[in-house]
């Protein structure tokens, strides 16, 4: 569950980065976009999981260790993901 949130978040960021690069005239080939996308996601997901406390922080929020503040953060994170997914559907990029 926790890792799924991280992977969804990094996927959305990846799609935005690749989309912006495409709009700017870079990464025109499908192979280039695919390679760049996978690279960005693998690096960002591994960074969040391995080199930061993000995973344990989200887990602590879920488990109620941080009380109502943790749930407020989860709500904010949920809103952010919903907005990004909606943007992806509407505008083909997460951040507009």
């Amino acid at each position: 569950m926790i890792e799924a949130i991280i992977y969804i978040s990094t996927l959305l960021i990846t799609l935005t980065v690749v989309g912006k690069a495409g709009d700017a005239g870079y990464l025109n080939g499908a192979l280039q976009r695919g390679f760049a996308g996978v690279s960005v996601q693998v690096v960002s997901a591994n960074f969040l999981i391995s080199y930061t406390n993000f995973e344990s922080f989200i887990r602590a929020c879920f488990d109620g260790m941080i009380g109502i503040h943790g749930y407020a953060f989860l709500l904010a994170l949920g809103v952010l993901l919903v907005v990004w997914i909606n943007n992806l559907y509407e505008y083909r990029q997460a951040i507009v």
Binding site: D63, H69, A76, V79, L80
Partner: protein, 313 residues
């Protein structure tokens, strides 16, 4: 560490000593004096179950021989834990089976062991040191001085589980993983040559490092009441660091042998008030920032465009 009227092991137990029943090997029919010890060759959930003596025999930490003191070889006051894998009387006195089972090795510690923990503080990390101090080894060539064995030390990996017990409730952290070199090095004064000498024992120290969130959870769990908190910790799934399967019988471990292992606890604590304030206020700020980021991700608000509007226009 507090020494109670009945010694440091009063409410503390060896919970599991390798999960292999060596009772028959250690039970000497010629004498009944060691029945309690041979019964403790197999311990299940803190009870010596090797033989039926008609009543529960708790596997108290020191096996009836209370030893506690400042051992300068260890970093903190230590207690000697009896490992119960050896004959203590009869014609086979001192003989060791050569194994104690593959694990788990588990210990239940009473509040006497947390006497140095301040009330109303919570735990940041613990360091548990285990040293088999009865045999010295040379550190330089890794040779057993007594038996001529070589490469006595090795790098081992194992898993740990820590359970806090308070007010009939438990709080468990199961996912600790340790990688330790089984050489415990210390300095000793050589009275013959009048110089300091480095010596080594089989031993290791393990650090139970709790995240800030876990520290807060522990604080919520026992309310900082360390005078009434117990712990049960388990060490299991021992393996060689290079991925090879470990042979407990031939790999020297301080907790899987015979006679005694010395054990000490050091701790690092953190103020629950300070930690809680930083984490909770930080989380609240992060929530606002995330909300703002979500809003900024929509076409309705672009803080960068608004901030640099004059420059862009």
């Amino acid at each position: 560490m507090y020494v109670g009227p009945n010694g440091p092991g009063t409410y503390s137990y060896v919970w599991s000593n390798g999960d292999e029943n060596w009772t028959d090997y250690y039970d000497d029919p010629a004498t009944t004096a060691d029945d309690h010890i041979s019964a403790c060759a197999y311990i299940v959930e803190g009870q010596c179950v090797g033989i039926d003596v008609g009543y529960p025999v708790p596997a108290i930490m020191t096996g009836g021989s209370y030893m506690l003191g400042v051992d300068w070889k260890l970093p903190a006051p230590s207690v000697s834990l009896f490992q119960s894998h050896r004959h203590v009387s009869g014609g086979l006195s001192g003989v060791y089976a050569g194994s104690s089972g593959d694990g788990p090795f588990a210990y239940k510690l009473g509040p006497q062991y947390f006497d140095a923990m301040e009330q109303n503080e919570t735990l940041d990390k613990w360091r548990f040191t285990f040293v088999d101090r009865e045999v010295d080894y040379s550190c330089s060539n890794l040779t057993n001085i007594l038996n001529g064995q070589s490469n006595i030390f090795s790098v081992v990996k194992f898993d740990g589980t820590m359970t806090f017990i308070y007010d009939n409730s438990t709080l468990t952290y199961p996912n600790f993983e340790f990688e330790e070199y089984t050489q415990y090095k210390y300095e000793t004064w050589d009275q013959v040559h009048l110089r300091w000498e480095t010596k080594c024992h089989v031993g290791f120290d393990i650090v139970w490092d709790f995240t800030g969130f876990e520290s807060l959870e522990i604080s919520d769990f026992n309310r900082g009441d360390w005078d009434n908190t117990e712990i049960l910790f388990t060490l299991d799934n021992f393996r060689l660091a290079d991925g090879g399967k470990i042979d407990i019988g031939t790999t020297a471990l301080p907790i899987a042998g015979d006679h005694f292992v010395d054990f000490s606890i050091e701790h690092q604590q953190v103020s629950t008030v300070e930690a809680g304030f930083v984490i909770k206020v930080g989380t609240l700020l992060l929530s606002f920032v995330t909300f703002a980021f979500a809003l900024a991700s929509t076409p309705y608000w672009d803080p960068f465009r608004n901030a640099f509007k004059g420059a862009l226009d």
